[in-house]
């Protein structure tokens, strides 16, 4: 579903934020992308969702190139950034309708899905209020609902659990499992290794822009914890 081949990105000042990154996410995978702050996770994710321009490598979503066929890629992808910048002066429901309109979701389907996920995240009552009045967690919930509204084939999430309350975190993990069973590929970055260990079937560790370890959870941990595997990969030069 998602193929990143030899992707590199260099910022002004000469820092290589992503260096020859290669990883493949299959349908039904929950793929964790871990690394410390500034390791290159968001730089990779932003390139995957078509936000960031890049010079080297190739990124394919459902067989389409992000560079050459961005629209085909975006139609099947949902992205939740780490700090969602939503339109503050729209109400929650206005924003969700905007996204549903963009993906051409029928009135019945959007009503059903908005109701389902808004009830799950206990945000239904607040949907008529302006987003500017929401807490960070509520904004995150609206961003998640907007990502789920078109039933994407690939979900890309940048630190999705930051700001969510424990119940919402649990609900999101449940939804991720549910989506994965339906064949959706999920690619997400996180700092929370416990979550990644319990949730993901595949993991990649990125350090200074380079993938230092990747594979199935079993291959990576080899009977140890993910935390130990991560620290070992981090300490290797």
């Amino acid at each position: 579903m998602l193929k990143i081949n030899n992707y590199s990105k260099t910022y002004g000042g000469g820092k290589k934020a992503a260096d020859n990154v290669t990883l493949h996410v299959e349908s039904g995978d929950i793929y964790g992308f871990i690394g410390h702050n500034g390791a290159g996770k968001s730089t990779t994710i932003r390139a995957v969702v078509g936000v960031l321009d890049f010079e080297e490598g190739e990124i394919l979503i459902d067989g389409h190139s992000v560079k050459d066929e961005p629209m085909a890629c975006k139609r099947v992808t949902a992205y939740i950034p780490d700090n969602p910048d939503l339109y503050e002066n729209l109400t929650g429901i206005q924003y969700l309708n905007f996204v549903a309109d963009v993906f051409d979701i029928s009135a019945e389907d959007r009503e059903k899905r908005i109701k389902k996920y808004a009830d799950t995240f206990e945000i239904t009552d607040a949907l008529g209020d302006l987003i500017s009045s929401y807490s960070h967690g509520m904004k995150q919930k609206v961003a998640i609902i907007s990502a789920l509204i078109h039933e994407p084939k690939l979900m890309v999430l940048d630190e999705p659990f930051v700001g969510l309350d424990p119940k919402a975190t649990f609900q999101l993990k449940e939804i991720m499992h549910e989506m994965c069973e339906k064949g959706t590929a999920i690619f997400f970055s996180t700092h929370v290794l416990d979550v990644a260990e319990k949730l993901c079937n595949k993991v990649a560790i990125i350090k200074k822009g380079k993938i230092v370890a990747s594979g199935t959870m079993e291959e990576l941990t080899e009977g140890h914890s993910l935390e130990e595997a991560f620290l070992e990969a981090e300490n290797e030069e």
Binding site: Y11, G12, G13, G14, K15, A17, R46, V49, G50, V51, L52, D53, P70, M71, K74, R75, T77, Y79, P81, P84, D85, L86, Y87, E88, N89, L90, T91, Q94, F98, V99, D101, V102, F103, D104, G128, D129, L130, S132, S133
Partner: protein, 533 residues
């Protein structure tokens, strides 16, 4: 399936609509602010309309009402070009919700074109108010046939399109060049200053080209300049021919060229849109920083320095905060080189004005440029979502406001001193009067700083989507800038008049006392607001 462009434009408009806030906000204070803002803009539109009609009356009474259509086209075009150019960074590029929009299935061309259309629709009321006002003035004197009215109104929608597209293209070039440099903000700001200064000087350049050496009546000269400009700026000619001669070719050319240019510009912009935004939104990173000796500052200076870094980190802030300083510095150097008398002669187009009578107005003239800075530095609004940082620190509000005001003084006083000395040396102002002018300049800046802070705190807005909303379109800017500029111009005229009868030293002394009093009252108001807000 809904048209995605229309959907996006509608959403962009809704997301900044005061009406939407009124309808859905549960915060009464926010609702009240939205209503005040709408009423304020309504009053402003009426004022502009009134001014536009009066302007046409002047032309009509002088028997030059046939030039009103060209004049209308030129004013709308100039306004559209300037406003658009300074808004491209923030509206077309480098905007906050870029990631969210680009991750949705919109093509880059659609996003860029919709952002342009949003900018166009947002500023359309200004252009339409001017155009309708001038149509009324034209109708009073020329009594045109009925079909002129709908043609004028419909073509008014097209009038700003070509200048806006050209300004966007120029803004795109600036962003494109900036995106190739590590310090893209600084490069963009420098290029914007250069274009802005060129636009500011354009009138004199055109005059220098078309001048025939004779002293003419100001209105006649203005008419000649407008007619000449219309010969160069074709859309003005097409508009004029469409409404005065009912020329079909004029109508077709204006509408056709606007539409074709729109397509061409967004084909060009769309091609590099993502690359430019990626570069502008990324920050240069060094890998080799070593912690060395750090400098300790007082709390006030720390706030002022933070404000300085905030300014240099934002092209919008840097251009707004630095434009007045750059202009007055250039003006001062030119005055010093060319001589005060020669400059006065140039500005008054050779009218028989004794340069000496303008000397008392020097501090006010300098203030006219430097006073516009106080809409940014003194206002807490630009903190936006980061306001929590200063709120959570163990500093009182009054300390924060003092720090911001201190930065505004650091930013403006050196330029005021330089400009006053240049002007006074050039105009051969005696030493005592020069010192008084410096004191008056200081008092004016203290007033503008404190009053700017009052406006900024009273109309604080932290939930902006785009810096431009605070820097150019906020209620605080309208309340501060417009009266300040209009009153400023009136005061300059008043001072020149008084200077003919009252001694310069006495006049300056009187104004120092008066302005200092106003500054003190404004400062007191800031401190009282700090206790409440």
């Amino acid at each position: 399936m809904k048209n995605k462009s229309i959907l996006l434009i509608k959403t962009l408009l809704l997301s900044t609509s005061q009406m939407n806030i009124c309808k859905h906000s549960t915060d009464k204070k926010k609702k009240r602010k939205a209503v005040i803002s709408m009423v304020g803009f309504g009053i402003l539109y009426l004022m502009i309309m009134f001014y536009g009609i009066l302007y046409c009356m002047g032309f009509g009474k002088s028997g030059m009402s046939d030039s009103i259509p060209v004049m209308c086209a030129m004013i709308v075009a100039a306004l559209a070009a300037i406003l658009t150019f300074f808004k491209t960074n923030g509206y077309l590029f480098n905007f906050k919700e870029y990631d969210m929009l680009m991750s949705l299935p919109f093509s880059t061309k659609t996003v860029a074109a919709c952002k342009f259309m949003y900018m166009y629709i947002n500023s359309l009321p200004w252009y339409m108010i001017i155009s309708v006002a001038m149509l009324i003035g034209y109708a009073v004197y020329e009594k045109p046939v009925v079909c002129v009215y709908p043609i004028w109104i419909v073509l008014s929608f097209f009038l700003p399109v070509i200048p806006m597209l050209l300004a966007s293209l120029l803004g795109f070039v600036v962003a494109w060049i900036g995106s190739h440099f590590k310090k893209s903000n600084l490069i963009q700001a420098v290029l914007m200053f250069a274009v802005g200064i060129l636009a500011f000087m354009l009138r004199y350049i055109i005059e220098a080209v078309v001048k025939n050496g004779e002293v003419q009546d100001a209105l006649e000269q203005s008419k000649e300049a407008i007619d000449n400009a219309a010969g160069v700026f074709l859309p003005a000619r097409w508009f004029s021919e469409a409404v005065t001669k009912l020329s079909v070719s004029g109508i077709l050319l204006l509408t056709g060229v606007s539409s074709i240019l729109f397509v061409i510009v967004f084909m060009i912009v769309g091609g590099s849109y993502r690359r430019i935004n990626s570069a502008l939104k990324s920050h240069a990173a060094k890998k080799d920083y070593k912690v060395s000796a750090q400098k300790k500052r007082s709390v006030l200076n720390a706030i002022a320095f933070k404000e300085f870094r905030r300014m240099t980190g934002s092209t919008t802030y840097l251009v707004q905060g630095g434009f007045g300083e750059v202009l007055i510095t250039i003006f001062s150097i030119i005055t010093l080189v060319m001589g005060f008398d020669r400059i006065v002669e140039m500005i008054t187009s050779g009218a028989p004005v004794d340069p000496a009578i303008l000397r008392p107005a020097i501090p006010f003239f300098i203030y006219f440029f430097l006073g516009m800075v106080s809409t940014c530095a003194c206002s807490p609004s630009l903190e936006g979502k980061n306001y929590w940082i200063v709120q959570s620190l163990p500093i009182e509000k009054k300390t924060l406001y003092k720090g911001k005001m201190l930065f505004n003084m650091y930013l403006t006083v050196p330029f005021m001193v330089f400009a006053t000395i240049c002007f006074c040396v050039s105009a051969k102002v005696p030493l005592v009067e020069t010192i008084l002018d410096l004191l008056l300049g200081f008092a004016l800046l203290a007033f503008s700083t404190c009053w700017g802070c009052v406006c900024g705190v009273r109309h604080m807005r932290l939930d902006w989507e785009n810096e431009i909303e605070v820097v150019k379109q906020s209620a605080a800017v309208s309340v501060y800038l417009l009266p300040n500029m209009f009153v400023g111009m009136g005061v300059i005229a008043g001072v020149v008049y008084l200077g003919m009868y009252v001694d310069h030293k006495l006049l300056a002394g009187g104004f120092i006392l008066l302005i200092s009093l106003l500054a003190a009252l404004s400062y007191k108001r800031v401190m009282s607001l700090a206790k409440r807000r």
